[in-house]
Symmetry: C2
Subunit: 453 residues, 2 copies
Amino acid sequence: MNNNIILFSINLTLKTWQQMNTVEIIRKKRDRIKLTAEEIEYMISSYTKNKIPDYQFSSFLMAAFLNGMDKEETSALTKAMLYSGKIIDLKSITGVKIDKHSTGGVGDKTSLILAPIAAAAGINVPMISGRGLGHSGGTLDKLESIPGFRTDLNLSEYKKVIKKCGAVLIGQTKDIAPADKLIYSLRDVTATVESIPLITASIMSKKLAEGIDGLVLDVKTGSGAFMKNLEDAEALARSLINTAKSFNKNVIAFITDMNQPLGNYIGNWLEIYESIKVLQGEVKGDLLELSKTLSGAMIFLGKKASSIEEGIEISQVMINSGKAFEKFLEIVKLQGGSVKIIENPEKYPKSKVIDNIISKEDGYLKTVNNFEIGMAALELGAGRKTKEDKIDFKAGIIFKKKIGDFVKKGEIIAELHSSSEAKIKNVSSNFYKLLEFSDQSVIAPKLIKKTIQ
Amino acid sequence: MNNNIILFSINLTLKTWQQMNTVEIIRKKRDRIKLTAEEIEYMISSYTKNKIPDYQFSSFLMAAFLNGMDKEETSALTKAMLYSGKIIDLKSITGVKIDKHSTGGVGDKTSLILAPIAAAAGINVPMISGRGLGHSGGTLDKLESIPGFRTDLNLSEYKKVIKKCGAVLIGQTKDIAPADKLIYSLRDVTATVESIPLITASIMSKKLAEGIDGLVLDVKTGSGAFMKNLEDAEALARSLINTAKSFNKNVIAFITDMNQPLGNYIGNWLEIYESIKVLQGEVKGDLLELSKTLSGAMIFLGKKASSIEEGIEISQVMINSGKAFEKFLEIVKLQGGSVKIIENPEKYPKSKVIDNIISKEDGYLKTVNNFEIGMAALELGAGRKTKEDKIDFKAGIIFKKKIGDFVKKGEIIAELHSSSEAKIKNVSSNFYKLLEFSDQSVIAPKLIKKTIQ
């Protein structure tokens, strides 16, 4: 049977209006008929108010997954999810508010670096972040590895911090896009996660609730990213851009490489440590480059530079002048974190157990299974396997090589850090399999693959 | 994003095996990867045992609806649903057991006619039937309009009746394909009803549970059928045949017309009445023709005839000799029904209120909105609007004309029967709109459109 034909289901005549309406909307999406904004709003608000059961909504999600949603539908979905909760009113904060969102990856700590840079350059950065999810770390968990650092500020504390120092980094509150939380939980167990319109609405409903003027997007692609190939990453980027624009937000997206860890440090405190070093101008490489690109774009969107390039230059000036690191200290202090530890990170004790992964051969590092490297960090204690798990904040990996590097036999490729000997042993025995070497020289993957405006 | 790409969902690593397995199977169907029989069996048995929540199963149903299921998957689905319950063991009954299934329509009372004909010709007919559903009547409701007739025989009574007279007509017991009942309820509210593989498994799991050797299928097409066009009806017929054959059952399918009521009587007692008249050889026309064709095919499948045509001749002999009507009386008696009323149906009082629909013009009857005629009968009391509604057994319509008939102004086109004046009034005022007349002569639709073996 042609699935698009609409057969008259006699059952409909026997139902209440409420049920009928829901079934009719599912049927339309199933039959590839474009939904109106009202229909989408009805589905989201009814589901959020518990007026539509999970089993109807999951059937709707699968129909949306398989048949897609166009620009207008995605925008309407985002709007409905956004208005399921509160939009933070930042009108009392003078100046432009720009945030960044990354689709997540391994060692991706740019938020910790670009927020102080952009704030130092005069941009307000009202950042609401997430927790780690599987192989991919979360900004909140990283910040909480700083003793005393509070990510659970209430709205008035949140506004106070941004007013004082131009940046704030907190977790999602209950008021923000509650529909997203509900829907995500359902998507997670009904195989409806990897859908561009659904991902777009999930991301954008939360970001738009921050009350921002503009947004810089970092869409990752590669073995450690959710979007494995460039085509999918670009499709997601374009969907995010379209949606942001439909809300009159300024937006720039970068498609960036996630075929290897970003920077060298993976794990919560380890990433704070590396971020400090970048902010202090001591560490260069891919992490610095990407952080500056993103903060450069934020500075440009915030009209403090006439181009992304100028924004990048300003970013470097903020690092060189010490203003970016100063701003970081200010944020840490205002959010209750230990400034002493940030000022003297070397003195903060390391993990109890450290093990080295030694190269068994001479060769060029060709590929790393970046997803599994993220999972190895989680295994060492840097992430949660269940919601109840406690994070071992100092656990993680210092991955010392980049794709294209020549590695000598006997050289240290990576350090594994954990509080548990057993975990180290477990990860250590499988780690080498995640690497592939070549006799031939290897071209490093391009970090910034595309800029879309 | 190409929906077929399989993105690695990190969430999976965080789940229990049970959940993971379910999500993985939904994902496979979502990504158009063929499911194994084990995977389908896992889904059905887990759902039936309440180990998979509705929201996962409905997402699976929508994926199956949109991506389809092939022959083997449909057969595995049928098997899993069949084995969710009991298969009736009819080995103690000597002789071949053949049933008929119709996809339902308006005035479709062939079961009442062909069961006694086939039984009279030496075929065992162990028939498990359903209730009315919306515009479409149900054999059980019709039988229950005979005072005393019991459709709720238990298994041992069921076997006793068929042993004694070669035919039995009961309702579905709890033991038979319980998965189907559960799944159908969920499909009904998640816009996943009109799917050929799902319809196939629903029908065949119940029919195969009867312990039959062969099956004759009557797949209706037209305005009063679930399959509005020939193409869909044929696709369903082929799917049903493939599935029956995969269980080594002999099967013949007919695609038959449902653009107008079958016979002239619609409504429970009215249809019993007409069936009596056909069995007594007093009424000819489309109802007799189709009933004989179906019983002819049953007699052929049961090897009591060398062709369908010979089976049809034998059917006519059974009517002419009075054996078919005798067999009907025997069934009624054994199932507790009033034989007296069947023998003297004219004496059984009619509906309190009867109204005639009079032609307002001269012309050839061109089309009837057969779905709405079925709904009108329901409205008069012949069906249930909610599960709790009681049926008015004598309510219904005597539709006196056939498509192609020339109708004179002032002629009675239909009689409406009901116990409620208000209902008659309500239906009467809208009835004429369901008819279309033409100045030109009209070719009657072909009754039996196709035979598929």
